[in-house]
């Protein structure tokens, strides 16, 4: 039975939800506002009223080319996502549909690698990248991000595939579908929403990854995260330019997230509620 909630209570909850949302969103809002301030305004102290100058954006683009790190971000995040899906789809598939006694252990082991602090393996990874010539290359970074996000991708897809009822697959077998037909006509169409939201989430994770992207690149393969960090230089902090660079860096993912929020929410809550 649904609980009766009074209008006043509803209003209070709504107000609290808006407040929490505002607190979470405020740093992003302040970054955007700061990007429209002059440097003296930016360091002068807290102010919600910029002078609406666009000089920071112009300078960011003229001093340091925005499009190069932007393209690096696109290639690395999309590339690592596709590579991760290529490995994770068959892996999750076999674990979901032909589980063995060790399947749960393997899944837990994969997830446990995410619990390890990245800095613990920084030196060996750095040395491997240096010795194999992968430092500051798109390929190296793509492989790296594939590997660090793989456990999450496998877990998400595994959860999706597990939701596909086994009886439907049995029905298709009874209906005369070969394994290929089963995959093409039954499984894939049913799994596409799950694969799409996994892809979306992984692109965002890869786009925002800052630890490895900053440490394993210098100029050639540096994505937007490294681009932002470069504004915090030994010569001093340029808050307004840093904010403009940050706004430019988060804008694509913010727009993508905005348009695909339904898919994302579904992806993140999938399997949680029957």
């Amino acid at each position: 039975m649904a609980r009766a909630v009074s209008t006043r209570r509803k209003a209070a909850f709504t107000a609290a939800a808006w407040l929490v949302a505002f607190v979470i969103f405020f740093p992003i809002l302040y970054t955007i506002l700061t990007s429209f301030k002059t440097e003296p305004e930016a360091i002068a102290g807290f102010s919600l009223f910029p002078s609406w100058t666009s000089e920071n954006y112009v300078e960011v683009q003229t001093q340091r080319d925005y499009f190069k790190p932007f393209m690096n971000s696109v290639v690395i995040s999309v590339g690592s996502t596709l590579l991760a899906l290529l490995v994770a789809i068959p892996a999750a598939w076999s674990m979901a549909f032909s589980p063995t006694k060790r399947t749960k252990d393997i899944l837990m082991w994969m997830l446990s690698t995410k619990m390890m602090p990245a800095v613990a393996v920084l030196v060996p990874i750095y040395l491997i990248f240096r010795d194999t010539g992968l430092l500051d290359t798109r390929i190296g970074l793509t492989v790296m991000l594939t590997l660090i996000n793989l456990p999450i991708v496998v877990w998400m897809l595994y959860t999706y595939f597990r939701e596909i009822p086994g009886e439907i697959l049995e029905a298709s077998r009874m209906d005369g579908a070969s394994l290929l037909n089963e995959i093409v006509y039954v499984l894939t169409p049913m799994a596409i929403p799950g694969i799409a939201s996994t892809m979306l989430l992984n692109i965002i994770l890869a786009w925002n990854e800052a630890f490895w992207t900053i440490r394993l690149t210098t100029t050639n393969a540096a994505p937007l995260t490294a681009f932002i960090a470069s504004f915090s230089s030994p010569q001093g902090l340029f808050w307004a330019k840093l904010s403009a660079a940050s706004t430019l860096a988060i804008a694509p993912i913010l727009i993508m997230g905005w348009f695909s929020q339904r898919q994302l929410v579904r992806g993140l809550t999938f399997g949680a509620v029957k």
Partner: protein, 332 residues
Amino acid sequence: MGQITLKNVSKSFGATIIIPEIDLTIEDGEFVVFVGPSGCGKSTLLRLIAGLEDTSAGAIVIDGRDVTGEAPAKRKLAMVFQSYALYPHMTVAKNIAFPLKMAGEDKATIDRKVADAARILNLTNYLDRRPGQLSGGQRQRVAIGRAIVRQPSAFLFDEPLSNLDAALRGTMRLEISELHHQLKTTMIYVTHDQVEAMTMADKIVVLNAGNIEQVGSPMELYKTPKNLFVAGFIGSPKMNLINGAVAAKQGAATIGIRPEHMQISTSAGGWKATVGVAEHLGSDTFLHVNADGVGPLTVRADGEISVRHGDTVFLTPDPTKLHRFSEDGRAM
């Protein structure tokens, strides 16, 4: 054609024996119901016949051909699942057409067969809908439609009505029976509901812990149950089973008497009983009584009789309808 023979078929999962060796023959065109309590192995047996589970030993022969090692699709059987197992991304028409498409039929044949199936099952107006837009009964009809277009040698039904409400279950039960008369194809139907078994079957197979307890027509099972398990399982309400001195007087360890085989009187009779609960259905009256020296009994009377909780009634069992069972539970 659709004769199915199981020869010494058994199934184990590791050390756990689900089905000990079973021998069974299902004749062409028969409507056979596997019935038994949950976990008795009836669905496993159906899945073995379908080829969705591998047998541990024995042979499954369909129309004289040993299909034990063959893939489900090659057995020429169609199955209707408890959860309907429809393809949610396909329309009703595409769901029904799927097995034909897999069989490589041409488009004209597919369209004709889908239209025929839809007409038989009253689905013509729903062909463009997706399963999510249909009611439970309509979904089950689509699942049946998908099965009949293949013109299989036998249909396998795995508790197809258990997700439906009581009223719809009654209607669908009739529809499936009518379909059987129409198609005259072998049907194997798994259920735990003995009413479904009694009303639909030509032959009932009663299963208990993987063993076949009895095979026979509904009336055979009703009139001459081979053992206590079948006696207690077949019939609704259940047969009254009485132990102790009353049974000993009949020279048996247990005697059984069906609720409808006792005469009720408010003045005189064999057993004096006090009414606990009286269920007045109009067409029947069910009394749950406690009989002196006998124990709790259920009695069924035709029509309406005016007795209430706490009333005293007298029951006289029909001696020709009394079932006697030995110590080991077998009918005597």
